[in-house]
């Protein structure tokens, strides 16, 4: 049996999996051989079980259905009296399955289109509207506007999204402390343009601890490279540029 390296959660259900298998066998949906498809499907499920993956019951139901279809195909019809035939309209048939696959496939293709639409729309950003209640006159009368409950839920879900943005942005910003290399470049340029400056004058805003550490390390590197010399001045460090020092790129390249 073929080694499958696709996980079951790659699929959106048994029909999706079936379509995948049919595609791999290079079959037309309308020409599928139930026996072959069933073998492939069951083999896939067994492999997944071997990997101890949880398989949703829907996949197992489909396996049973396929096995039932396959066995029907293998066995000759059993002759029965007309009156004994119960209503089998709910029983699975090959045609029923094919019809289901064709319909599902049509929707899957629509999903591709809709995803493109979604992506394009997500590129366009609006802004949360301002709180306009300060412009509102005082009313005391029962609300009778056109809002649906879905409007409320939508507003709420936007709010949740916004909060998550905010959280994420905070995380992104704190994570992006400057690298030593970047800070060496900045400090080099800063001192080169000023000729003489001080450590704390380099910062435009109160630095946080990681800024301080990285900048101080950058300073030590530049001293080591004889780009700058320093002197202690009260609680600050005076930094002087050495005229004959290395170019910026050269200095950073030693790292």
């Amino acid at each position: 049996m073929e080694a499958y390296n696709v996980k079951i959660d790659t699929f959106e259900g048994p029909l999706d999996l079936l379509l995948h298998l049919i595609g791999k066998m290079e079959l037309d949906i309308v020409d599928i051989s139930v026996a072959e498809v069933t073998d492939q499907y069951v083999a896939f499920i067994r492999t997944m079980q071997k990997f101890e993956l949880d398989i949703a019951s829907e996949y197992l139901v489909m396996a049973a259905t396929l096995l039932q279809l396959k066995s029907k195909q293998l066995l000759p019809p059993v002759p029965v009296e007309e009156d004994d035939i119960p209503d089998f309209s709910d029983e699975p048939t090959r045609e029923g399955l094919i019809r289901q696959l064709i319909e599902y496939k049509a929707y899957k293709e629509a999903v591709v289109f809709m995803r493109e639409q979604e992506e394009q729309r997500l590129e366009l950003y609006s802004r949360p509207g301002d709180d306009l209640s300060r412009y509102m006159a005082e009313h005391v009368q029962p609300y009778d506007g056109p809002l649906n409950f879905s409007d409320l839920l939508h507003a709420y879900s936007k709010m949740v999204e916004r909060k998550r943005w905010k959280e994420r942005r905070k995380k992104t910003i704190t994570r992006e402390t400057r690298s030593l290399e970047e800070q060496m470049t900045r400090l080099h340029d800063h001192v080169a343009s000023k000729q003489k400056t001080s450590f704390f004058a380099f910062f435009e805003e109160t630095p946080d601890v990681s800024d301080l550490v990285v900048t101080f390390m950058a300073l030590l590197e530049l001293i080591k490279l004889r780009v700058v010399t320093t002197a202690q001045v009260e609680r600050d460090i005076e930094i002087s540029f050495i005229e004959t020092s290395k170019e910026r790129d050269e200095a950073v390249a030693v790292l």
């Binding site: 039932q68 699975p92 590129e123 366009l124």
Partner: protein, 197 residues
């Protein structure tokens, strides 16, 4: 004395303050005390002036509501500023379910499950929570199942103006409806036998 403000300036500021809630042409017309046609004309003029002056905005219309949004060119910077936006995109399960609802509406949960072959209860709740679908009464038949349909936010999420913009579904070679020629009766018992193999 106050300088005179052009319609364009006023409209831009209104679109700005309403943000993603958007603005109906009607409300704009009422505010400016002009006809809806004139309001539309002003909106078009504003849109043109964004283009001409290279400003990073454009207007989009969805279900008669106008919104001011940024142009795609600046989205890399916005994403860089706010971090990845992947979360806003719908999950595959939500997307499949939503697309089926969009095409088949009004539709019951059972209808959707039949097409997708999986349970969709949870996904439906997600879509309801996001305001992308809403309930649309119940079927008249026995069981009186709940029906669902898409909302205006659905249109906006995909940048559609109306449902008419959904492209038709394409079905692979329609099956002839001749029914089941192969089997007079399903052989139920055989399944047990196979499973013992």
């Amino acid at each position: 004395m106050k300088p005179l403000l052009s319609y364009e300036t006023i409209i831009e500021s209104l679109l700005f303050v309403v943000g993603d809630e958007g603005m109906e042409v009607r409300a704009l017309a009422d505010t400016l005390d002009i006809s809806e046609a004139a309001a539309r004309e002003q909106l078009t003029k504003l849109e043109m002036s964004f283009k001409d002056s290279g400003r990073p905005f454009q207007l989009i219309e969805s279900a008669g509501v106008y919104k001011l949004v940024t142009i795609p060119d600046v989205s890399p910077y916005i994403q860089r500023y706010v971090g990845t936006m992947a979360e806003q995109a719908l999950s595959r399960a939500a997307m499949e379910t939503l697309v089926i609802i969009a095409y088949k509406q009004p539709v019951t949960r059972a209808d959707i499950e039949e097409v997708r072959g999986v349970k969709v209860e949870r996904v439906i709740h997600t879509l309801l929570s996001k305001g992308l679908i809403e309930s649309a009464g119940r079927t008249k038949t026995l069981g009186r199942a709940k029906l669902y349909r898409t909302t205006e936010h659905f249109l906006d999420h995909f940048g559609f103006n109306s449902l008419d913009e959904l492209p038709p579904l394409t079905f692979e070679d329609e099956l002839s409806d001749e029914g089941d020629l192969f089997f007079a009766e399903p052989a139920r018992h055989s399944q047990d036998r196979l499973e013992k193999d």
